[in-house]
């Protein structure tokens, strides 16, 4: 049997199941979400078409606005610190000595366990009852306070959770980029007497540009949307200070069951994500052209 792949339907049969599942469970929900967002929804009963009213409600809601501020603070701090730690780890652990390979695996552990479990374990450390925080911070003159009951320190704990879990993710992405750099470049620069800092700035950073951008955007997409950290570690408190957008959306939809506005908010968040994803896709293409 001879098959001409270009003209026949044959290849599509291989791809069809995947496409069907993606359309059904990602595509259709998106359409339904938009439809719901334009209606008044009481639990699951759509009562009337309300146009953009749900969007208006969401945009004017103080809870959403507060959550935007919390998300911005959380995302920016988490992004900068996670990226910094990830880059430092990637540079430090790049060599394939046994010690470094082992350490890489250890750093990855917080990333591989369930996000919920990681946040739960950190909550137990930050809880006043555990006595761990006072044991560490007491000698530094910090009073025995509950980290999670003060807005600022609760946000710091949330950022710590993000850095603790996701630095390994940044490390792996950046390390893949580092491994792609031709080692002879460094050797040549060394012969020419270039210092380590100079080599880093003039060789590593420029050649790592695309992996760095990809890492930053993938981290940003993750931090803007994540809700597990806040739900488990701080519960969004105290006083909604750490209620991020993902958590606000979750509560609007599944605690208050306001499905109209929740779908509107979800769609707005998705639009914002699409912008980030669009940038990411362009970077992927650039990477392929470059390498």
């Amino acid at each position: 049997m001879h098959i001409n792949p270009r003209s026949s339907w044959y290849p599509y049969r291989f791809v069809l199941p995947v496409l069907a599942i993606e359309i059904l469970f990602v595509g259709v929900p998106l359409i339904i979400g938009v439809y719901y967002s334009l209606h008044k929804a009481d639990y699951f009963q759509l009562t009337e078409f309300v146009g953009l009213q749900n969007y208006w409600t969401v945009i004017n809601s103080p809870v959403v606005r507060e959550s935007l501020a919390a998300t911005a603070i959380f995302s920016i701090f988490s992004l900068v610190i996670t990226f910094g730690v990830g880059l430092a780890l990637a540079l430090y652990l790049e060599r394939d000595t046994r010690l470094h390979v082992f350490t890489r695996a250890v750093v990855l552990v917080p990333y591989t366990i369930a996000m919920l479990v990681g946040s739960l374990l950190l909550k137990w450390i930050f809880t006043k009852d555990a006595g761990i925080m006072y044991l560490v911070l007491g000698p530094l003159g910090v009073p025995d306070i509950s980290v999670l009951s003060d807005p600022t320190s609760a946000m710091a704990a949330l950022v710590y959770n993000a850095v603790w879990r996701d630095s390994a993710f940044a490390m792996i992405l950046l390390m893949a980029g580092l491994k792609g750099i031709n080692g002879q470049l460094y050797a040549a620069a060394r012969v020419d007497g270039a210092s380590a800092w100079y080599r880093f700035r003039r060789i590593t950073l420029p050649l790592l540009r695309v992996p760095i951008l990809i890492t930053l955007i993938r981290l940003l997409i993750h931090f803007v949307n994540v809700l597990t950290f806040a739900l488990i570690l701080t519960g969004g408190g105290p006083n909604n200070a750490t209620q991020t957008m993902g958590l606000a959306m979750y509560r609007m939809g599944f605690v208050d069951f306001r499905l109209g506005p929740a779908n509107a908010l979800a769609f707005l968040v998705l639009l914002f994500n699409l912008v980030l994803i669009f940038i990411l896709l362009r970077l992927f293409r650039q990477k392929r052209v470059a390498g």
Binding site: V15, P29, I32, T112, G131, R218, F254
Partner: protein, 280 residues
């Protein structure tokens, strides 16, 4: 006395070890502390100063969990994870193979969609997906979770396998097909056995996702019968409140399988994270 350069080299070695020790403590302490707490008798958990290693280790919290029915949630998680992995790897192998071997119209669009779906963050999908799943009547079922997890992990699995199949020369399967194998037989008997590292990487990623997921499961399933382990742990958080013994024990029950799998298959994880090729 040793030469100065030797001393400097040894000093550097010590600094290296010290840095690595600090990194390991920061990364692993929360897990170690959870393990320690889960083994302490209830009366010792809140003592100050806290003891890092339990003086009288006990399994009472684990016993309590199993007597209150955690086994059911473990079984649910296992069922969901197993079916998700099988479904995902089989479908991804088919699609990845077609993408790696055939030229067809729309291929670029398919690849584009795969990367796009891979980047969509789950939380922003949950509200409409719940609405849709409830319309289908698949909420509160394990099948619903299996289908959703498959949908969410397929893009990554296809991407990994697509990359891996490209590295396998076509001669083997061509020879097999000349010997009378059909395309599918050649894929199953020749290409797949050669692609073990790629299949393992795709399967592992799907497995840890399905085992660890909380956000999808908590939204879709509220019934006790269809509850998976992470959601059960979340409920314990409300139920046990400040009883950290059973809470940390439940955390350990979730972690142990993941860490075992991770130790055994460590190198395969990395390829999935970069969304790139696998080194065999």
């Amino acid at each position: 006395m040793s030469a100065p350069w030797k001393r400097r080299a040894r000093l550097r070695q010590w600094v290296n070890v010290a840095v690595v020790v600090v990194i390991c403590i920061v990364a692993l302490f929360p897990i170690f502390w959870g393990l320690s707490t889960s083994l302490k008798p209830a009366s010792d958990i809140l003592e100050y100063p806290p003891k890092l290693i339990p003086t009288a280790p006990t399994l009472e919290h684990y016993r309590q969990l199993f007597s209150t029915g955690i086994l059911k949630y473990i079984v649910n998680s296992t069922i969901v994870s197993t079916f998700t992995v099988v479904l995902c790897v089989v479908l991804a192998a088919l699609a990845g193979y077609a993408l790696a071997r055939f030229e067809f119209r729309g291929k670029a669009i398919v690849l584009f969609l795969i990367v796009a779906v891979m980047s969509i963050p789950l939380p922003s999908l949950m509200v409409p997906t719940f609405t849709f799943l409830a319309l289908l009547g698949l909420n509160n079922t394990l099948l619903g979770l299996i289908l959703l997890y498959t949908a969410y992990q397929l893009p990554l699995a296809v991407w990994v396998l697509y990359g891996y199949f490209q590295t396998i020369p076509t001669e083997f399967e061509n020879a097999a097909m000349i010997d009378g194998y059909s395309r599918l037989q050649a894929l199953r008997r020749v290409v797949l056995p050669l692609s073990r590292p790629g299949l393992i990487a795709a399967g592992l990623f799907t497995l840890t996702f399905a085992w660890n997921d909380f956000v999808v499961a908590v939204v879709m399933n509220s019934s006790d019968d269809a509850r998976t382990l992470p959601v059960a742990i979340y409920n314990y958080l409300g139920f046990f409140g400040r009883e950290w013994g059973p809470l940390t024990a439940a955390a350990m029950v979730s972690i142990v399988p993941v860490i075992l799998v991770f130790i055994i298959f460590q190198k395969y994880f990395l390829s999935g994270m970069t969304g790139g090729g696998v080194k065999g």
